[in-house]
């Protein structure tokens, strides 16, 4: 876990203690129309709209020089779920079956069935198989069934070119970076969850401790230091590919060059930047 994440976590635990007081104070303050702290907020006013224009202070990193993208080769994924485990650990995601920055779906066509049977690691039978919501496993329910076709599909934030979540955020707390990543300013998010509604892919989750929305950042704290996202790093079969589209030699550029790719729900107009190989029409 990075220093920045630790800071966020400490901030989170402080918030737990102050939560009730702050909420009540906030409701009272807003209702009465009191402009407590408005000076600070006005200062923020100048930066919020232009959040995407002000580059973060990361040593040796220029976000104008990169264009990140993600590839998923579903034909390679074996459903080991190490990516899910790594993501939760790396990013301090709530340890239960209802909050994920990434997950894996299993599609199984049985003989004679027209529709796929779909489940993820959050399915009750899978949790029973793993023994805990904090451990991830696909159970063996199809052991005796006649399976015609089956595959796994890793899911994560699509970091869309036209993100509906950014469009609906009332404060600009969620924004798009120059290098193509959609991030959330946790210190500015009011926790209305409009973005959770607007995301067609269900990738946004709510952190009830901090009262803010959370989601995959493609491990922005890692990629800006030249590292791979945690899920890509731990994938044993290279089903997850990440890189810079501005670099023709990067794994993602090769992935896009060498494969016929598709994206999820193109009809939404969001223009996702996670590209898939090996999925079929049933994938939702």
């Amino acid at each position: 876990m990075t220093q920045e994440d630790k800071k966020i976590e400490v901030k989170g635990s402080n918030l737990v203690r102050r939560n009730f007081f702050l909420r009540m104070l906030g409701i009272g303050t807003a209702c009465a129309g009191t402009w407590v702290g408005s000076g600070n907020l006005v200062a923020r006013a100048q930066s919020a709209e232009t959040a995407a224009a002000a580059a973060p202070k990361i040593p040796d990193y220029d976000w104008n020089k990169h264009k990140w993208a993600f590839g998923v080769d579903a034909t390679r994924c074996i459903g080991c779920l190490r990516c899910v485990e790594a993501c939760k650990a790396e990013n301090g995601v709530t340890q239960d079956a209802h909050h994920f920055r990434t997950w894996v779906e299993r599609y199984v066509y049985l003989e004679g069935d027209e529709r796929a049977h779909v489940d993820s690691q959050s399915d009750a039978q899978n949790i029973a198989a793993s023994g805990s919501e904090k451990e991830f496993r696909f159970d063996n329910r199809y052991k005796d069934a006649k399976v015609e076709k089956a595959f796994f599909v890793p899911k994560l934030c699509n970091h869309c070119t036209h993100p509906a979540c950014v469009q609906v955020c009332p404060t600009g707390a969620t924004y798009q970076t120059k290098d193509g990543v959609v991030l959330i300013d946790h210190s500015y998010c009011i926790g209305c969850q409009y973005c959770v509604q607007a995301c067609p892919y269900g990738v946004r989750e709510f952190n009830h401790v901090m009262g803010v929305t959370d989601k995959c950042t493609w491990c922005y704290h890692r990629i800006t230091k030249g590292l791979q996202p945690a899920c890509v790093e731990v994938c044993p079969v290279e089903a997850r590919v990440f890189g810079d589209r501005n670099d023709p030699q990067s794994p993602i550029s090769a992935f896009l060059r060498n494969n016929r790719v598709s994206v999820l729900k193109p009809e939404t107009g969001n223009a996702p930047n996670v590209f898939y190989v090996g999925i079929d029409k049933e994938v939702c």
Partner: protein
């Protein structure tokens, strides 16, 4: 409990893992509901102030006070819902203008200012009179409320009337905008199949007006009982016709929307059908059953020219019926939309909490507040015409 997740929503089929934490609770059902009551009450007052329909005069000023009392509490469910309500002003001071939600404070702020101004002009003569006859701290309040203007000459009163009319004229599109905006908030979410409809703003607006008229009928009858004065028959007949007309239009539009949806049979329609037959089954029965019963009752009252106590009873039943039916409609939209998974392969079931800050008790408190405030305001500023002796 604050800071923890509500009970995870049970589901059937396949839903995205994060969807089991339902984002918008019953508080967001009550938010468009209260906003709608405001719009409806305001429209009735405008029928008198703008269109000069004299039969609405007995309730015109009361309707304004009703609208403002409910408007005060429109932000309440939203603030209770926010994860960080202390940052609510972020959306006001640094609005992100591509978001419909960023407009909320401005739309609501404009509308409440308009209402307060209109009330001031409509009640100015009363305020001046009260400032001269009331002693003590309350008298000081009345004197402050005159804003130094104690001219009640016929010319000044005519000017008041003119201002009130102009404000009411601005208020009609503002009320339409306020509630159409709420419809847009839902209708523009393309990720939610059940919300994403171009008709959402108009359906929200029309159903809002129907529920607001229903509320006004009920409140007017209750207040008349308390004041021990007869209910104005002409006013009641007018309200019956207005409610009937708006209800008919909203039912036709909602019916056409459902018909189109099932006729087109786009991908995922099976799951929409299962939503209607499943999680929102009772909600749909109350919404549609209630609306049709009220429509039939109003038709009988109008066609057979029912008068007297029977008319009042019939209208109170209609008013309560419409308030319940529209509340069910809000539930069906807000909760139903979230119960239909974005995968279109599964359904969730939302169970409201009871005691949490997003629970049913909180909703009951939020919904009781406008009634209490209205009672206090009417004690402070009587909207009723003096009884002819």
């Amino acid at each position: 409990m604050i800071g923890t997740m509500a009970q995870a929503a049970p589901y059937v089929g396949y839903v995205y893992p994060n969807e089991t934490d339902i984002p918008w609770s019953v508080l967001i059902v009550i938010y468009p509901y209260i906003t709608g009551l405001v719009a409806g009450a305001f429209i009735v007052s405008s029928l008198f102030h703008v269109f000069g329909m004299a039969q609405y005069k007995p309730v015109a000023r009361f309707a304004l006070l009703t609208a403002v009392s409910f408007m005060f509490f429109v932000p309440m469910p939203l603030l209770l819902h926010l994860g960080n309500p202390q940052r609510a002003f972020n959306a006001v001071l640094t609005p992100h203008w591509t978001s419909a939600m960023a407009a909320f404070s401005y739309v609501a702020g404009f509308y409440i200012s308009l209402l307060l101004l209109e009330i001031w002009f409509a009640f100015r003569a009363d305020i001046v009179a009260l400032s001269k006859t009331t002693q003590g701290p309350l008298g000081t309040v009345y004197r402050l409320m005159t804003l130094g203007s104690d001219d009640v000459s016929p010319r000044a009163l005519a000017l008041d009337h003119k201002f009130a009319t102009v404000l009411a004229m601005i208020g009609i599109p503002a009320a339409g905008g306020l509630h159409g905006y709420v419809g847009f908030l839902f209708g523009s979410v393309k990720a939610r199949e059940w919300w994403s409809s171009d008709l959402m703003p108009i359906i929200f607006l029309l159903s809002a007006i129907v529920s607001g008229i229903g509320l006004l009928i009920v409140l007017y009858v209750v207040y008349s009982r308390i004041r021990k004065v007869p209910v104005d028959q002409a006013c009641m007949k007018g309200l019956a016709r207005t409610m009937w007309a708006f209800l008919l239009v909203v039912l036709v539009i909602e019916g056409l929307e459902l018909l189109e949806m099932f006729y087109k049979r786009l991908e995922g329609i099976d799951m929409v059908q299962r939503l209607i037959e499943g999680p929102i089954r009772y909600g749909m029965m109350i919404q549609w059953g209630g609306s049709l019963i009220v429509l039939a009752l109003l038709t009988v009252l109008i066609v057979f020219r029912v008068e007297g106590k029977a008319l009042v009873r019939g209208l109170v039943i209609s008013g309560v019926g419409m308030m319940i039916a529209v509340l069910a409609m809000r539930w069906n939209v807000v909760i139903g939309g979230q119960e239909l998974s974005k995968t279109m392969k599964g359904l969730l079931v939302y169970y409201p909490e009871i005691l949490s800050h997003e629970g049913l008790v909180a909703v009951a408190i939020v919904f009781t507040c406008p009634f209490v405030v209205l009672w206090l305001i009417t004690r402070f500023l009587s909207p009723w015409e003096p009884e002819p002796s």
